[in-house]
């Protein structure tokens, strides 16, 4: 459950451009109730004394998630990019589009290796393995499995060493 104070804290941390983008999204998604609630909360913030603490029993989870999901597009880091592509791999596999998923696996892998994102590397190696498992059981693929397992073990060892 997300409380009134938590949503107020989130809205206060938004930049003007994030708010502008958010308002565009309210209209694109016909999210009129969200738009209405958001504007009310903005007014409350402008006049600090009027912040209505009696609203603390209400669950603001949906608006909170909408705001957070919307501003995610506004911020880019390698970690976020890798996570986003990982989401796309899951969607593509769900649609049986393995070649497309394979391409995204390679993208995440190079991001994860380059920026030493060990958790993302483990995740993507597992996907690589899952996709390899769909292919014919050849000796070459068996070698590829071995190589993936070696990479996984090496990465987990590094993770343990950095603890």
């Amino acid at each position: 459950m997300i409380h009134h104070a938590q949503l107020i804290s989130l809205i206060k941390s938004l930049t003007p451009s994030e708010k502008g983008y958010l308002k565009k999204l309210f209209s694109v998604h016909h999210a009129n109730q969200f738009k209405h609630d958001f504007e009310l909360l903005e007014k409350e913030i402008l006049d600090q004394e009027k912040i209505n603490n009696t609203k603390n029993g209400i669950d603001y989870s949906e608006l909170f998630d909408f705001v957070l999901n919307s501003i995610e597009d506004y911020h880019k880091s390698t970690g976020q990019d890798a996570r986003s592509i990982m989401n796309q791999i899951e969607i593509l596999v769900d649609k049986n589009l393995y070649q497309q998923a394979d391409k995204q696996v390679n993208r995440v892998k190079s991001l994860a290796v380059k920026d030493e994102l060990s958790e993302q590397l483990i995740e993507v190696l597992e996907w690589e393995m899952a996709m390899l498992a769909i292919k014919a059981p050849t000796i070459e693929n068996e070698r590829k499995f071995e190589s993936i397992f070696d990479q996984i073990n090496e990465t987990i060892k590094k993770q343990k060493d950095t603890l």
């Binding site: 995610e72 796309q88 993302q120 498992a133 499995f145 987990i156 603890l163």
Partner: protein, 282 residues
């Protein structure tokens, strides 16, 4: 399949709701009267087989092939992004929480960052998503706000070890799937190091809540081996063990990680073959 057909296949795989979402989101990017990638999407969608030449001609890109390639790439990524926005797959939701927590950290809003990491930790533990769990815990530790007690049950090292041993089961399963048709491989497999190793680890893990994947791949591997050895009654027991496991963790099917699909497939196969075996005996 050629790389140029990737966009065609992606478009053809879209559901009605996904198409509607793409159309809604494209309104954010309209320049002039129409949206170029929406036009491309609609043109491709009209085709039964991908004919790039016809589309290039129709949309007037014959002399600007680079621009067409750029548009195609943009359209492909835009569709993927809008599918991602719509997706409610649990691992995607956990990744979102981690990314959003990262943004809140950037804004120095530590309370919300902590809240989002805590939500990610709780979800990761439910779905036993080890790498996401570790990532969220690592960052959460750096925030000077007490963690909820339920999220402290497993330290990072314990999760890392569970993740490492999980891959031994994963490896065993892959090995069994690759070679179960080889009589020489199957004959004494239970005496082999790989099988004994995971069995010991399985016992070590058996009293924790961290071993869904371990058990799943173990029962699957054994089921396949017994089936290959024509020990159908034993294979059936493994099928039942899998069934019990799924009944204890019914939400795990939502995680959809690669071979999780194969789980049901293999279980069904084991059961079907057992039925045939039983019928042949009667």
């Amino acid at each position: 399949m050629k790389a140029s057909e990737h966009l065609f296949d992606l478009i053809k795989s879209l559901s009605k709701a996904e198409r509607e979402n793409i159309t809604s989101l494209s309104k954010l990017h309209i320049k002039g009267d129409e949206n170029k990638y929406l036009v491309l999407l609609q043109e491709i969608d009209k085709q039964n087989e991908y004919d790039e030449k016809a589309i290039i001609e129709k949309l007037g890109y014959s002399k600007e092939l680079n621009k067409f390639a750029f548009l195609k790439n943009y359209t492909y990524n835009f569709i993927l992004k809008s599918l991602e926005d719509m997706s409610v797959l649990p691992l995607k939701l956990i990744r979102n929480k981690i990314s959003q927590a990262e943004i809140m950290l950037g804004k120095k809003n530590f309370e919300l960052a902590a809240l989002l990491y805590d939500q990610a930790i709780e979800m990761s533990s439910k779905y036993q998503a080890y790498p996401l769990w570790i990532e969220a815990l690592k960052h959460r530790k750096k925030i000077d706000i007490p963690q909820p007690d339920k999220n402290k049950a497993f330290p990072i090292l314990r999760i890392l070890e569970a993740n490492q041993s999980f891959f031994n089961y994963r490896k065993l399963f892959i090995m069994v799937r690759l070679k179960h048709h080889q009589t020489s491989f199957i004959r004494n497999i239970e005496e082999k190091k790989e099988f004994k190793n995971v069995y010991d680890e399985e016992l070590m893990e058996s009293n924790s809540d961290l071993n869904f994947g371990h058990k799943m791949y173990f029962y699957l591997s054994k089921g396949i081996v017994y089936y290959a050895k024509k020990e159908y009654d034993k294979a059936y027991i493994m099928g039942n063990e899998l069934d019990k496991l799924w009944n204890n963790f019914p939400w795990m099917i939502e995680t959809r990680v690669g071979a999780f699909y194969n789980t049901y497939y293999n279980k069904a196969l084991i059961e079907l073959n057992f039925k045939q075996y039983k019928a042949s005996k009667n």
